[in-house]
Symmetry: C3
Subunit: 283 residues, 3 copies
C-alpha cells in the first residue's frame, strides 16, 4: 500500500492552485490517497507552517509523506528538499524554516535536495513557469516518491542536516514563584493563545484549581493583568472568563471560555508578547 500524501499550503481554496497540484499527483499515480492537512497557513508564514506540521505529524502512520508549500522564496535559490525524520516520516518542502519544529522535536535523520532534472514536471505548457513549485516540483516529486517510481535516495543528493534553515525557538522558563514565556502561536479559530512553557515545568509550581496572577506585556506595556484559574479544560470556568489550561501539545495556554481571547482582549502572538504567571500567595 502506498504511503499517504498529506498536504499543507498557504494557497487557500479560493482559486484553482490546489486542484492543479492534486491533478498532477493523480496523473502520476491514480492510487495515491491525498489528504488535506490545511491550505490555510497564513500567507508566506514559514513559522506557522513549521509549527502546524509538528502539531499533527506524529499522529499519522509511519511512512506518511507530508508536502508543505509555504514558499515566499519560490524561484530563488532556497533549496527544495525532502527530509526524513528520525521517527519515520518524510517531508517535502522548501528548506526555508518549515523544518524548524520537527527538527527540534522529532529530529531529522537525512535531508536531500530535489534534483529538478529528474523530479520536476516537464510539460509544454509549464516550461516557462517559475512560480508554482507546489504543482511542478513538490507535488510532482512527492507523488513519484509515494508511488515508488523513485526511492528516497533518488530524490537527489543529501546535504548536511546542519544546513537546514531554522527559525529561532525559545522555551519558557519556570522559577520558584513564577513562570514566564511568550505566546508562540494562537488558535486562530477559537482565539486561544499558546505559550512556549512546558506543562511539566509549569506543574512544578502550579496545580489545577490554582488562581494565578497573569500579566501579559506587549512591547513593554501591560495589556492584560488578571488573577485567573488554571483548569484541565474549558467549561470549568464561567463563560467569557479567561483561564489557563494545557493545550494538545502539552504546553501552557490561555483561553476565553466560549469566547475568543485574541479578539475580545485585543491580543496576538509573537516574541514581543511576554506572559508571566505568578503564584498569588507569593506576591
Amino acid at each position: 500500500m502506498r504511503p499517504l500524501l498529506v498536504f499543507q499550503t498557504d494557497f487557500t481554496y479560493m482559486e484553482g492552485a490546489v486542484a492543479a497540484m492534486y491533478g498532477v499527483v493523480k496523473s502520476v499515480d491514480r492510487d495515491i490517497e491525498i489528504i488535506d492537512a490545511t491550505h490555510e497557513i497564513p500567507q508566506y508564514d514559514t513559522w506557522s507552517a513549521s509549527f502546524r506540521l509538528n502539531q499533527y505529524m506524529r499522529f499519522w502512520p509511519k511512512g506518511t509523506i507530508f508536502v508543505s508549500v509555504v514558499d515566499p522564496g519560490v524561484g530563488t535559490k532556497r533549496r527544495a528538499c525532502v527530509a526524513k525524520t528520525k521517527d519515520g516520516y518524510y517531508i517535502v518542502t522548501p528548506d526555508n524554516g518549515t523544518l524548524t519544529h520537527v527538527s527540534a522535536v522529532s529530529g531529522i535523520e537525512e535531508v536531500r535536495e530535489i534534483d529538478e532534472s529528474i523530479n520536476r514536471l516537464k510539460r509544454d505548457d509549464n516550461k516557462a513557469v517559475s512560480i508554482f513549485h507546489g504543482r511542478d516540483l513538490f507535488g510532482y516529486c512527492a507523488a513519484r516518491l509515494a508511488s515508488g517510481i523513485i526511492s528516497y535516495e533518488e530524490v537527489g543528493k543529501t546535504y548536511p542536516v546542519e544546513e537546514i534553515v531554522k527559525h529561532k525557538i525559545t522555551k519558557g522558563e519556570v522559577y520558584d514563584t513564577y513562570a514566564r514565556g511568550i505566546f508562540e502561536i494562537n488558535d486562530p479559530n477559537f482565539g486561544n493563545l499558546w505559550t512556549n512553557i512546558a506543562l511539566d515545568d509549569f506543574n512544578k509550581i502550579f496545580s489545577h484549581g490554582d488562581k494565578i496572577h497573569t500579566t501579559i506585556e506587549h512591547k513593554g506595556e501591560v495589556v492584560f493583568d488578571q488573577v485567573i484559574p488554571y483548569y484541565p479544560s474549558f467549561g470549568m470556568a464561567e463563560d467569557k472568563s479567561v483561564m489557563i489550561y494545557n493545550n494538545e501539545l502539552n504546553n501552557i495556554a490561555m483561553a476565553e471560555v466560549v469566547g475568543n481571547l485574541c479578539k475580545d482582549h485585543n491580543l496576538s502572538y509573537g516574541s514581543d508578547y511576554i506572559v508571566t504567571f505568578r503564584k498569588v500567595d507569593n506576591e
Copy 2:
C-alpha cells in the same frame, strides 16, 4: 467494505486540529475513507451542528458513521456517545444538543456512552490533554468502530434515549389566511433564511406565483414588510428582489435573488425573528 467516516466540527482548517484528528483515524486503520462534511460549523454552536447533521445525513449510504465535534463542554461531565438512528446511521458526538434534529426526524434507536477506558487514545504525549476529544476520543472511537475493531455494543453501555440532551424545536403554524413561524437557520453563504414552516402546510393556503404580504418582526419591531412572490426557484424573480421558495429540506425559505438577504436587509435567524406570510386578498 468499511463504513464511511463523515466529519463535521467547528475547528476550521486554520490550524492543525483536523490533521491531527485524521492522523489518529488513519493510524487506527489506513483503509477507512474519511470525508469532510464541514469544519465550519459556527464555534460552540450545537444548534447548527444538530441542524446540519439532519440536513445531509439521510443522503448517505446506510451504515455511514458521522462524527460531530462541536463541543463547548469538552472535559466536563457531558456524555460522549454513539447514537444509532432508526434509519440506520451512527453518530459519534458529545451529547450536548447535537442530536436534536436527528432525534426528531430520523429517531434514535439506541445510544451508548463511550467507555473511555477502552475507546480513548492513550499515548505518552497526550495523557494530560483534556481539551481535544475530537482527536483523542471521538475520532479514535469512530475509527475503531468503522474498522470493526469494536462492535457497536463495545462502544460502551447504553443509556435511555430519553436522556439525550435536546434543544427546543418549534414548528411554524398555518391558519386560514396566514402562516407564521421563525427563521430557524440561515444559509450563511448565499444569505437565505430558512423558516420552520413546512412546505406541505404552507401549500394549503399558498400557491406558486402568489404575491404574499411578508412581515418580519425582530423583538417586536417590524424590520421587513413587503409583498413578495412565491416561486419554485430563484431566477424567476428579478435580481436583488426578495422572494419565497421551498428549501432543500421542504421548509419555506426566503432569498434575495443573486444577492444576500441577510446582509442586504440586516437580518438573521433565531427564535426572536418572527415571520408572517399573509394572503394579500384577505388583508
Copy 3:
C-alpha cells in the same frame, strides 16, 4: 477503475450542501473517489467558474469527470449538460458560461443535455425541491456516469456545440513598444492580478530584468503608474515592491512581493481595468 469526480461550486463549507451532494454520490456508488477542486468560487460568478476549470483541468488524468455547480439560474430554463472536451475530459455543469474558457482552450467535442427523466434523483423528500441541482441533478448524474450505470450517450440528447453559452473573452495585444490588456482575474489569496496578455507575445518586446513603465487605468482614471521590473519569480524584487511575472497559465501577471497587490493598491479585475506595459527606452 472509475474516473475521478472533481467538484467545484460556490457553496462553501459553511453549511450542509456539499455533504448532502457527496452523500448522493456515495449512495450511487461507494467506490467513486470524490475530490474537491474548490467550493469557494465567488457566489453566482460563472466567469470565475469557467476560468478556474480551465486553470486546472488539463493537469488531471484523461477521463476525469468535473462537476461545476455555480448556478444562478437554477430552476430556470438554462440547460443542464455534460460536455466532452477534445482533450478527453467530461464536464457536468449548467450551460451558463462555465464552459467559456475550456471551449476556447481545449475545445468541446460534444455536449449533451441531461435527461431529467432518467438522471435526476427521485426521492419522496426531494420531489418538490427545485433549487438544489448540485445534489439532485449534477452530482447524481455525474455519479451515474462515473460508476458506469449510464454511458456518456445515456446522459441525454446532444445539442449543437455552437449553442453553448459563452462569456466574451478578449486577448491582450502587443505592439512595437508596448503591450496592453485587461486583468481577467486575480489570485484572491495572494492578491496577484492576471492579465490577458500571453507570455509568448509579451516576450517579443520584453525580457526578464527589464524595467517596464506600467500604467493601470480604471474607468479612464490612472490608478497605478510605476516603473517596475519583470522577473521569472517573486523574491527577486524587494519585499512589498510590485513586479511583473508570468503566471502558471503562461499569461503576464503582476504581484506585490510578500504582499497583496489588490489590497495594498486598491486594485481589482474586470474589463474596466486597462493595463499598459511600455518600454522605458521608447518613452
